[in-house]
Amino acid sequence: MYPTSPLLHFAEDKLQVIALLFMATVYVLKIRWILRFPAGGDRQAPGNAALTDGPSGAKRSLFSIAMPWAMGSTRQHPFLYAQFVIFHLGVAASIAMSFVIPYAPQLVSGRTVIFSLQVLFIGAALVGVMRLIRRLSDVYLRAISSPDDYFSLALLIIWLVLSSLAAPNSRQTSETPLLAYFFMTAFFLVYVPFSKISHYIYYPFARWYLGRTLGHRGVYPLVKGA
């Protein structure tokens, strides 16, 4: 093991824990806030009990994101769906790396692993740039974009680039990429609950309720047409 400066040690350990605790606290409050609103019920008789029901519809709905063939919007735009997959894989990998580097660095020690991660991070960052260009140039997206939409995207692009620089974990050469990555991660963790990036916390709830209703009514899973 190479010696680690107190600042980097703080950034990759205590700072992350504090930021994570903060994010978790905000999320707990957020979920409590969601649950404070009464849920609409379904008193009507089941729509097609022989084929489906509420729980089946909810399950289908939850996993529809992994089924690009299930929705016209993803079926008609495979390139956008591929972008979505790369971008979110990159983000997930970077989140995982923020735990792995301080607590299990041996998992990102091999050259192949590091190179693969860097390719993923750079790919995801490029997708982020493409998404930013699309958001700026597409008249429909521009019309619905708030400052938070642009800032969140820019933040993620920078974070993904820093992730690719931090992936080698070469603190013996320079701690700067790691410091930048961990400070950025901490900021990210604090900012996310207040930004559009927190859409993933709503995803399971929104999908579950929609799927449950449509499953109960016999709509989900959808029957494909000719």
Binding site: Q44, G72, K196, L222
Partner: protein, 586 residues
Amino acid sequence: MALERSYKAQKVIDRLQQKVNRQILLSLAACAHCGMCTDQCHYVLANPGDPSYAPAYKADRIRKLFKAHIDWTGKAAPWWVGAKSIYTDQELEDLKDTVFGKCTNCRRCSFNCPMGVDMATFNRMARGLLVHVGVMPDGVSHVSKDQWELGNQMGILQEEFLETLNWMEEELQSEYNDPDIKIPIDQPDANIMYTINPREAKYDPRTIAEAAAIFHFAGENWTMTTDGWDMTNFGLFNGDDELGAAVSGRVYDTAERLHAKKIVMSECGHGYRSTRCEGPNWGKRTLGMPLESSIFTMLNYITDGRIKVDKNKNTEPVTYHDSCNLARSCGVTEEPRELLRLVATDFREMTPNRAENFCCTGGGGAMSMSEYAPRRLQSAKIKAEQLRATGARIVVTSCHNCVDGLYDLIRHYKLGMEVKLLVNLVASALVVPARVAEPAVAKPVAAKSLAGRKILVVDDEPDVRTYLRMIFKDEGAEVVEVPDANQAMRALKASKPDLMTLDLIMPHKTGEKLYWELRKDPNFADLPIVIVTGYARVETPAINFHAFIAEKGISEPEGFLEKPIQPEAVLDTVVKILEKKAGILN
């Protein structure tokens, strides 16, 4: 300096806080502004480059309000997350234009949102907020009022309704030469209580007769009712849960009072959804009897052998249009197809179809909002292309609302297709038992009273045009119809009709103005004109047509009919006018 908020704007905000439930909250909060919904909306596809039609943009008009008053991020940093409150009545009008005029609540965007954001549901909620403070299109207001006051959305009086049923019963008995064919009314303990769309009683009563024939030949113990017979529900369209609960409650109460074993609803997408799915939630009731669409009933009659059909009686190519409410909100997609294949020989699938189908563009109450008709017809381009691509001659649907929407766009885009309901096809494919198949005595065929005549129908309401067309065509007339006064002028020059029926209240140019122009124009001064209007009474001074005529010093119209109009009255008036004119000429 804080902006002062209008009374109505404050009421809308107060109401918003009461109406947001967990599902709506999640839909409002979860949007990631990814834009995947954009090209799934027929309004966007027909109006490329205009972001105000994009589902996420429209949803954001409501989301901004939610963020400003409910979501904590919007309270903390409104500008940053796009939160924006409303302050003026004009802003409410702008919101009305979006939630009523740019969305049919078809739910196609909801089905294509990766996040599961149900935009149609909170668009309906937003309509309800506006209705709560009286901000809504005039048509929505009139229909809602009728449904509150008279129990049906077309303001049909009970006497009128019973007369229509009686008329249809007589027609059936005559057609099948069978005095046993009845349309039972308020029969207790029936297996089926049959509920309908008031459009049937008012404009298309033959569908009631066809359903009655099917019930009769199936040997069904069924009944219609004097109350609670309207299963349509404007509460679904105007977002008013109280109206929704009251209207569906009337149907349930009547069924319970008569001890009906099942409620069967005629073909109507929103009616089925309202009565079958939403009504129990709005009224917080659990029903003790099943409810089904007549699609299922007819299909079961055929598969159980209770009625026989011959599909060779329907040989023209047909396609099927899935109603949004049936397919996307109630999962009814396969039974109509199964039924259609049993009663027609040449069924061609439309693409896309089922839950991915495009809206007829008349949904969400759009047919009652004449101010948005040009926008609706422009957005119908997508549906028109879809229909044209099937090569079918007939488009079948299971929704009266879709019938009107489709009929309007077919005429607008000159597709030359007919629109039919499944009940029309089942009835025409019926194999009638031998004892009643032929009338005992062949009836003399009466000469059609309008044979060889050409009539121009000018009315902005598609239902009224359909109704008049049906009456005149049945009597052999050639009918040309247009939805506004400007098109009427062109049609007059092009088709040279023998008579024109004219509505008074229409968008752009009123019927009064057209009437005055025609009476001054030597080319048309002698054209017989029958005014067909719902707003001619003296107690409506702004639209007092007789005062207008007197003031302008022009001649009275040859005929004057006030809505609601009965077919006999229309025919009687028109035939007499044309006979009189022929007599003068001869």
